[in-house]
Structure formats: C-alpha cells, structure tokens
Symmetry: C2
C-alpha cells in the first residue's frame, strides 16, 4: 500500500519509542480493526485500490493473508476420523483411524505439548519431521512425533518477531493461571557496536512457575533466541530454572544476563507457589 490517509487508525511501529536517533518506522502503515470491504478495478480489469473502512487505498498488487485450513476432505470422504481442528486425527506414529493409512504434513493434526490439545498448524518443520516419522513407522520401524510448541519466527524488513508455547491469552483459555514479564534488553552488550533493542516476554504458570510461552521482538540477532525458550518449555522447566541455565556470553553476542534469562527471572519473581 504505497499511500494511506493520515487519519486512518492503527499505525504499527510508529508508536514504538525511538533509540539513538533512528526511527523504528519502516514506512508501512498498518490499519488494525478495519475490514476490507472490496476492491476497485482499473479500466483494464486489474486491481486498482482496496476499499477498507473510510479509506480507498491505491494498490498495484494485493496479497491476501487469510490463514490456512487443513485439506482433509479426501480423508473425511473416506470415513477417516477428522479431529476438532479440522485436520486428520493421527497418533504419535502418524497413523489415522483407518488401518494402514498414515497422514503427515499440513493435513494432519499436531498435539501441542503445553496445552495437550490437537491443533492444525501448517509449518514445514512439522511436515518434515512428521513425514520422517510416518516413513519409519509404515516400513516397520519405531518412531514417534513428540508434538509441538507452535514455535514460529518471521522477519519483516529490519524487524524480527518470534513466538513459542502459549501466549498469555492462550494460557488462560487453556485453563492455566499465567503470570508474564516483558523486559527490554540489547542483542549485544549495550556498549558493543551493532547492539540493538530486544523485547522478550515470558509467560509462566503462577503456581508451579512452569514456563508456558515466550515471545521476542527486535532486530538482527533477536528472534533466534526463541529456540532457547522453546527448548526450555519442551523440557517443562520452571522460569526460575531457565534463569540459571549456562547460556553463552561475550559482548558481541549479548549482555552478561541473556535477555531470555532476564525475562525468565522476572516471570519467576511473579510466581506464587502458595497463591
């Protein structure tokens, strides 16, 4: 969207604080809570604009991000059990309800290791591992797909964003009583050239202190830290324990207390074992 009216609501990034004189704005206006009502076409039939709320936004190209649904109709028509997520129900060996029929990839459900719920999450990392498990088990070997944490990472221009486990709202919806801490730190020692701001959020269970989820936002070198949170949550560590893990340190790579450890420690401070 090359232009947008200044009065349109919800401009992401613009609200973020500035640091060292560099604006975090990357020239993208984000219109939140504004439904797309239609498209205007040019005389030659191509798209010319998006009509959204009060605004008509000129456009040469429109990309729709509408989510992904499992393509499980073939299995459904064959009488194979479909799970609550709409994906094909499978066990840890990727077996469906029909004898000698396996399913793997975006069409199949995965079990979330924190919530215990079956979900449909279309990620190549799962499809790849599931295919491996299905291939081994259908040829007589033993392998199990151990479930997922919903770990994901994306880069948007200079920005990196990542998540794993349950968000605070997910956790509440799944019956946990979560606490959460959001901290700001730097990707390198604060005095080291190239250090940029990183925001880490850690979600933990209020009573047990178990880490339930994490989110990271920042620039180069920020988001891949989510893998530490994922490995910790995978092992059902408490936030207090995560804060003490022997993570690497040198000024080009982070502060003495890695941002992930700081977030975990702050979340641990909110835990109420007897609460």
């Amino acid at each position: 969207m090359p232009t947008a009216r200044p009065d349109t609501p919800g401009v992401l990034f613009r609200r973020l604080p500035q640091r060292r004189g560099r604006r975090l704005d990357i020239g993208v206006d984000v219109h939140l809570g504004v439904p797309v009502e239609g498209f205007e076409t040019t005389n030659d039939g191509a798209v010319g604009a998006v009509v959204a709320g009060d605004a008509t936004l000129p456009a040469d190209l429109v990309v729709l991000g509408l989510g992904v649904r499992p393509a499980s109709a073939l299995a459904r028509d064959a009488g194979i059990t479909i799970g609550p997520s709409g994906g094909i129900a499978v066990d840890a060996r990727m077996r469906t309800s029909a004898p000698n029929v396996w399913a793997a990839g975006d069409c199949a459900e995965v079990r979330h290791r924190v919530s215990g719920r079956p979900m449909a999450i279309a990620l190549g990392t799962y499809a790849n591992r599931e295919g491996r498990v299905a291939g081994i088990t259908m040829t007589g070997g033993t392998a199990e797909f151990p479930g997922v944490l919903g770990t994901a990472v994306a880069k948007i221009c200079a920005y990196e964003v990542a998540r794993t486990g349950l968000r605070e709202s997910d956790a509440r919806e799944c019956g946990f009583d979560p606490v959460s801490a959001r901290i700001e730190s730097t990707t390198r020692a604060s005095y080291f050239p190239g250090a940029t701001r990183i925001t880490v959020k850690a979600v933990a269970d209020r009573r047990t202190g178990r880490m339930l989820g994490g989110q990271i936002f920042g620039r180069e070198g920020a988001a891949k830290r989510i893998d530490v949170m994922a490995t910790a949550i995978w092992n059902e560590m408490t936030a207090a324990d995560v804060a003490m893990v022997d993570l690497s340190y040198a000024p080009p790579f982070g502060p003495v207390w890695d941002p992930v450890a700081v977030a975990a420690r702050k979340a641990a401070d909110l835990v109420e074992p007897d609460g």
Copy 2:
C-alpha cells in the same frame, strides 16, 4: 604479529575449505606447537620481537594469554578448604568450609553438571549468578547455584566459535564412551542472502544417547545457537530428542532443520543402546 616467515608451521584458517570464492583466511598466522622462547627489545627498552622456535617475529605489542588461576590464597591462609581445581570449595549455596564465610566468583569452584566435577572457570556469567546466590543465602533466603556446562562463545574478526558441555576428549577422560557427529549447514536457508557456512559438532553418550557437549564454528549468526545445545544438555536430553525439539524456522534464520538439530540427529544415528 604483522609478519611471519612462510615456513613457520601451523597456519589456522588457511586449511579450511573455501566457499563461493571467498577465502576464509583473515590474515592471522597461527603458529601451533611452537613455544615462545623469549622477546627481543628495542634500543629504548620496548618489545621489538617474539622469538618462537626458529622464527623471530617483529612485534610492537605482545599480548600473553596464559590462562587464569583462582586467587584463593587468602582463603587457603585462613584454613578454608581449597578444592582440587585450586578454587575455594563451596556448596550450592556458595558456603565455604568456614561457618559464615561465603565465596563467589573466579576464586570459587563450580560444579560441572555433566562430569559432576568441581572446576575453576573464570566467567562473568557464573560470578554474577554466584554473587546473587551468595547474597540471597547469606541474608537468610534460599537459593542454589545449579552448576555449569562450561558454555563459552567468542568472536575472532568475522568468525564465531562456541562450546558447551564436554568435548569428545573431555567426555572420554570423564569415563563416558562418546560418539560424535560433525555437520556442515548454513546460518540461513542456503538460498537466502547472507547465508554462511556453519559447522556444528554434537557429542553424545554411545549407550544412553545423552547429549554431552557441542561446539559451533561459523560466521555472523552461527555461535549463539550453542545456547540451544546448552539448554538441551542442561536438561539431560538425548541427541534423538534434541533433533525433534520444535525450533523456529524461516528462511532468514536457518534451514528447515536447524544445524543444531541436524548435528543431534547425526549423533543419535551413532548411538548403540545395546552396544
């Protein structure tokens, strides 16, 4: 060392294979197995050269890296127990053998979580956490320092190198029967701009498959992955389990199978449960 004779032995980096026409050589000649025999001084008393083996290497500045020893003499003189590493012996609450005397930091021993052995490792991350534990326990609170993995990371010009847990030789020396796998992969999806080569080594116990250690070498974005290996080893995961952890994936951040997962999977392939 601005110059060196071409016939001096052991030139690091130069032996590494080339990739995409870029030489990995960073202009540093490394002389391995050559003892420093002395220094030559200039007429005004400053250092002028290093005499090492057959070579005399002109130098304006000499930096000696001779290792670190715990400064535990004060404690020793006071009759406090010194451990086998030369550091002050402490328990998990950082208490020494003398009532009401705590020790923390480079002077104190740490317990290695994989070998179980007390060690002297002078790292700021340990000193910081130990100081925290000592402060809490000496004021009546409860806290324990959970031990270390010897995780470390360094940047040398464009190169990053990291380690955690036991090296293969350490593992053998500590009574394990290790297997190890060394893999090469890329820091981003291989087709993504900025992707560089990363080498990951995973060490596991031959019989149980437990991950014992890991090492990483590469360029920007390589070494911080050691934290995933550290978190896995901290939790006593097997190499096979590490290969299935839900690590993040997107092309700017790595291949579909993160290099750490690939190394773990290759090490798991070498495990012999009945061997």
